[in-house]
Amino acid sequence: MGSITLEHVNKSFGEVEIIPDISLDIEDGEFVVFVGPSGCGKSTLLRLIAGLEDTTSGKILLDGQDVTDAPPARRGLAMVFQSYALYPHMSVRDNIAFPLKMAKMPQAEIDKKVDYAARTLNLGSYLDRRPRALSGGQRQRVAIGRAIVREPKAFLFDEPLSNLDAALRVNMRLEITELHQQLKTTMIYVTHDQVEAMTMADRIVVLNAGNVEQFGSPLDLYKKPANRFVAGFIGSPKMNFVDGPEAAKHNAHSIGVRPEHFKLSTTEGAWKGTVGVAEQLGSDTFLHVQTDGLGLMTIRTDGDQTFSHGDVVYLTPDPTRIYKFDAAGKAL
C-alpha cells in the first residue's frame, strides 16, 4: 500500500516561501510525475514527502497515517537520487543489501533478495564491483535495485535520468515504466522534462513557483490545459500564443495554437508570414515563421514538405483547437 496525501503543505526557508500551500492526493499504485521549470519547488516537494526536509506547516499522510514528523528512516519510502548517491566504499552487492541490513534482515534472506533484484535489473555480473567501475546506466540500475529490494510503500525519483546521455535516457525511461507495470507500487517522479512526464506518468502535477498549476492525466493536460502556463509547458514544440485584437476576435485576452494544429498553405490562409529557420528532423519539419504583426510562430509539418528561408507561407489555425485564456491566464 502506498497512498500519499498532502494537506495544506507549506515550506519556507526563513523569509522565502518555496511552497505556499499544496494539497494533493496520490493514490496507491499511481505513477505521478512532478514537472515544472527549475526552481518551481518540485524537488523540495519530493524531499518533504521523503522526510529529508520538514514542512513549515501542513500535514503529510502515508496510507492515512500522519508521518509529518517521522524521520526518513521510518517512513518506508525509497528514493533514487539524481547523483544516484551510491555508497562508493561498498560493492554493488553491499549497496543493494544496505537497506536490508539496516532493517536487520537475516543474511540468507538478504542474499535471496539481492540476487533477485540483480537478476531483474541485469546486474548479475557486476555484483562484486565498486560503483566507480560502473557506467552511468549501470549505476542508475544499482540505485533502482537498492530501492526495490526493501519493497517500499512508494518510490521517489529525483530527476534520475538527467545525468545520462540521450539514448540511454530513452532506454531507462522505458525500464522504469516497465518496472512500475511489474511492481504496481506508487512512484513519484520529479523531472523538468515534459517529454518524460508525458510518456511515463499516470498523472502529472505541473508546478510553478511552488503552486500546483494542474494535476491530471497527460492527455488531459495536453487537451485541456487549465491555464496558459500549463498550455505552454506541456507539448513540444511549445504552443504559440497571440494577444491583442486577434485574440479579441475569439473573445479572449489571449489565444494559443499548438504547432501541430495549423493548416499550412503557400497561397492563402488566415495569417501571412515568412519562413525563418526550417528545422528538418526527417519525420517532421519545424518551421519558425515570422508572421505579419503576430510575432514568431512555430509550425509543425510533415517531413516531406520542404521550405527554405524567406518563403512566404499562410497559416490557418484549426478552429476547434484554439485555446482561449482570460487576462489572468486561466483557460476559458
Partner: protein, 276 residues
Amino acid sequence: MARRVSVQTRIGFTVLAWVIALLLFSPILWTLLTAFKTEAEAIASRPTFFPQNFTLENFGAVQERSDYFKHAINSILVSFGSTILGLIIGIPAAWSMAFAPSKRTKDILMWMLSTKMMPAVGVLIPIYLIFRDLRLLDTVHGLTLIMTLINLPIIIWMLYTYFKEIPVDILEAARMDGAELWNEITHVLVPMAVPGIASTLLLNVILAWNEAFWTITLTSGRAGTLTAFISSFSSPQGLFLAKLSAASLLAIAPILLVGWFSQKQLVRGLTFGAVK
C-alpha cells in the same frame, strides 16, 4: 604538461635544489651520523663524516641513562590517546557542522579556531595549579587531556573540510535506506572519509608528539614524553655529544617516518583547508 627547458637549465636547477635541500637536511644527517660515532670521534678536532668506528653503544647508554622506552611509550600513549579521543569528540561535531549547518556554524568554527590561538603561557599558571590540586601533574592521562584540548580545534577543522567534500546525497540516501544516525555515521560517513580521517590522525599525532610546552611544564619523571626525555640532555658537557645524537635520533625517527608518509595531506591540515 611539463614545461620545456634546456637540459643545461634543468641540470643547473637540479644541482642548486639538491645543494640547498642537503644543507637544510644537514643537521638531521649530522645527528644520524654522530649517533654511531664514539664520543671521542664526535668531538675530535678534525671532524669525520662517516663514523670511523661504527658503534651502537650510544643507544644502549641512552636507554640506560634515561630510559628511552618509557618515554617513547608515554609519547605514543599521549599522542595517539589524545588524537583518538579528539576524533571521538570531533567526528560527531564535524558531521553536524558539515551536514546540518546553521547560521551559527561558521561562528562556532571560528570560535574553535580562536581557542587555538590562545597562547599557552596565558593559561599555564591556572592549569599548573589545577593539575597540582587534582594530582594530575606528571600523569599520562592528565597530559593526554591537555593534548586533546589543544588539538581538538584542528581535528574538527580538518574533519570539517574533508566531510564537506562528501556529497550530502549519499548520507540522505542512507537515511532513506532506513539508517539511523549511528549507522549513517559508522556505515557510510566514516568509511567514506577514511583518507581524511587518517590524515587528520597522522597530523595530530605529529603535533602532539612534538608538543614541547605542556609536556615539559606538566611532567617530570614518571609521565615524561620524548620531549621531556630529550630536554634532560640539555646540558651535556663534552663527552655526551654522540649520546645526545643517539637520543635525538631515537626521539625524532618515529615521527619523521610518519611525517614523510603523510606530507601530502599536511598542507591542507596545517592551513585549516585554506591551501589545498
